[in-house]
Symmetry: D2
Subunit: 283 residues, 4 copies
């Protein structure tokens, strides 16, 4: 438990008058100065969402005690974190390097507030890349027979490493409903398409066959319902008839890594809140 001077508080609760006043009151009671704040009330779900960055010299325990009382009063889900703290993250990969390479590079360039504590591959292909960046690489093969064991090993690793976030960086394996549930809200996948769109195998061949003029990618939370998890970020790039499935794949890789890096950053900065099967993203 650290005492810091700069904090980020994110919360959601049933919407009703007085929430902002109550939250800002707690901060004012602790000489907190708000530096950034966003709120959103969703008329569809009746939920209220708030993210606030503030400076305060108060000890964490005192802040948490006050927020705990507030949380009970408003039936709040809330989380207090040190602003800028790097989130402990495990990256899952298969053979494609573009997404994990981007995340590793951004961590080192200090433009992504994560600490990648392990890279896990179902193939050993990317061991050298992980180790170049000084990251332990775990080879956990997955076959239909070994899948339950592999998932248990992964979950054990998440717990051993105190990992807060699992990023499926072109992992190419479908998580079981059980593992999806266990990682609910803390696993992000990058989908090789502009959802809802081409599903199933070889999406870029489907895209080529259909003659699309834009290639997209979608970063979303993992749920048991494959490819239907809450969308965090989407992006596209323009293509034309001269693109082959191979060059569409290369463009797709660029779009994927871009959308994934944004989604991971926003998540790590507590900017993404779940609103049913949609997300609120306080950019």
């Amino acid at each position: 438990m650290t005492d810091a001077s700069s904090w980020v508080l994110s919360l959601s609760c049933p919407d009703r008058p007085g929430i902002v006043h109550a939250v800002s009151g707690v901060l004012a009671d602790h000489d907190g100065n708000i530096t950034e704040s966003q709120q959103f009330g969703d008329p569809d779900t009746g939920l209220f969402f708030m993210r606030v960055e503030f400076a305060s010299a108060a000890p964490r325990a005192e802040l948490e005690a006050a927020l705990g009382q507030l949380g009970e009063r408003f039936e709040m889900t809330w989380r207090l974190d040190v602003a800028g703290r790097r989130m402990r993250t495990i990256v899952m990969v298969s053979k494609a390097a573009h997404c994990v390479n981007d995340l590793l590079f951004r961590e080192r360039a200090k433009t992504l507030p994560v600490e990648i504590v392990a890279v896990v591959g179902n193939h050993p292909t990317l061991r050298d890349l992980a180790e170049f960046y000084g990251k332990p690489f775990h080879h956990i093969p997955v076959t239909p027979d070994t899948k339950p064991d592999a998932e248990r090993a992964l979950l054990a690793l998440v717990e051993d490493m105190d990992a807060e976030l699992v990023v499926l960086a072109r992992y190419m394996q479908i998580l079981s409903p059980e593992l999806s549930d266990a990682l609910r809200g803390r696993a992000i996948n990058i989908h090789h398409s502009f959802l809802p769109s081409f599903k199933g195998a070889r999406p870029y061949f489907q895209a080529h066959d259909r003659g699309v003029k834009l290639i997209g990618a979608t970063a979303h939370y993992v749920t048991g319902d494959l490819d239907e998890g809450p969308i965090i970020e989407q992006d596209v790039e323009r293509v034309d008839h001269t693109y082959t499935p191979e060059s569409l794949t290369a463009i797709g890789a660029d779009v994927e890594r871009r959308a994934l890096a944004r989604a991971v950053r926003w998540h790590a900065e507590h900017r993404v809140l779940l609103d049913g099967h949609r997300t609120i993203v306080f950019k």
Copy 2:
């Protein structure tokens, strides 16, 4: 039949060596100077596509005779047109004005090489807009009972007006397979989504419900297979959780009119060639 000094030739044929040499030979024989030219050979379909703009003082009849011989030799589909000629166009509308307003404005601003010869609405709502731009407005109501009659009236109008292009500018009616066939390759629709994507009714409510981060639109040729016609252009705009279905609709309107205007311009400039169920767009 006009003699002009500036021409556009578009063609497609089975790919084989010597096509460009033969085409450029015909042009050289008529003192033609190529000002813009693009080619593409599709390895999937084995077809070759070419669009060439050239200046030549030769009479049209001579050019057409020479191209006719060439066309037979290479089993070509070809078309010669005066460069910059405005294509005679009928715009079909319902109640939403954003697409037709954009097309009418661009015609008048001379940034769209079409001559809109009529506006047809299944509702009378947009009569005043059409007439402000000096265009005859035809109200052809459509009910399940009258649909065959309405389509016959439309087709008669196309023929009476020598219309070369029919633009469904948020027409909201599904053309029958027969009419789709009759207008094959010369009817363009704007679809209220990023195909393949949300199909069916109220796409922006579906998009809102799904929490998408991008709103798209697709301009495509009309075929009997609804919403599956060859894609000419697609575009997107970024949205976020604060958008309601209503504001998504407004953003969607912007994306729709933009994508449709580009598709109509490219078609009118003979830049779009059919390659199976895909398009070649020589931008």
Copy 3:
């Protein structure tokens, strides 16, 4: 003075702890329910900015009295408005129609919360367009000799019409420092370039000569310092070597109308706050 149930409050003041708590306290005192709120503290200027939409059944006079006291306490600049109220707007034009046409269309389509109360042109060219949309058109010619008179006439019109916003929609005349001052913070210009960039005459010819790959436009507040006013919105579109100065101009027109429409909407919704020579835009 109207009593409404839905309000928008925008404010700025020197940053210090307790502002949000105090503002939300005033709202809570009047049974206000916050539906959208954004804050930003600028560490460079030491200023705090806030925009809040809220629902409250309290009479306007009561709200204003309470906010007045608050404003004094925090040295605030604040403004309370009925949410969604259409801002009374005068559009200034010359001969180019693309921007004013877009604004008029969007007002009628109810996607832009303005009420255009007059169109003023230094040429009579666009009278018919204005009148089609039912707007009075004022022809106020400008020559070097008549410029002071013309500006007096314009300012008188602004006052007579109770206009809150003046939009220079490709007006092509430079306002005098005096008029710029008189309209400070309530006049928006669209600049035919991506500022800071090509200045002076014929920007698209300069752009063509320089071989740029992107064409941009900038919407900004008018100040005495020409083309240096606070930027509200910028946008670009991709171009290539095949574009002529003329087709660059056509693309530029699309970018201009898009950037201007966004800037006008954000201003009319009180989303734009001045922060020195920069803007805070609470999108």
Copy 4:
């Protein structure tokens, strides 16, 4: 000298009738089948540009002899290369890794047709990154006194390695007019701005101060006229008032690496032709 079956020919010459016919005639004489071709005639400069990919079993010497005759007849600058051949490239760096990391990764991922034969840094910072990718790293420090020696060493390296392309990947040193001339048309720089725009030091601080809403980058050929070389590619990303100079810098890094990677790919594929101080880019 290799005999290959797939070729790319790029050329420019004074525009006049018959060029395409003559070029395609040479190809037809050697049983060449055109797979991709683009032409452009610039009315401003009176120059004609062409890029053609073709398959032919003819020996290189024969093709070159025929093209040599053709080149004399039309006063052509032309170049024949094996399609897809990787261009020998030296990357110049300073301390910032984002651009060189991207180029190295793309080379390894086979999405960039270059063979990076050396990385040269005026600081030793990026040695480990270069060596991880198996590239020799040359540390050539530059001070005002040693600059002539350093440039001689660089030029010697270019010659020793038979390097065809030099990429200034955030090299941060201004090349002398002599070196710029020696590398004319084969050195690409990435400029930390959207040219013409903020010049001089700390562009992102200038951008922040000016409150821009878009951050851009420009890839261009190096000339003696600093930052005024022919533009190959430009890109932008949207930002807002919440960005600090530091986060603008991070976004700028993304835009820079993206624009640079495209420019390098197009150059290596012989898609970029010089047209005075502009470029023709056959994408």
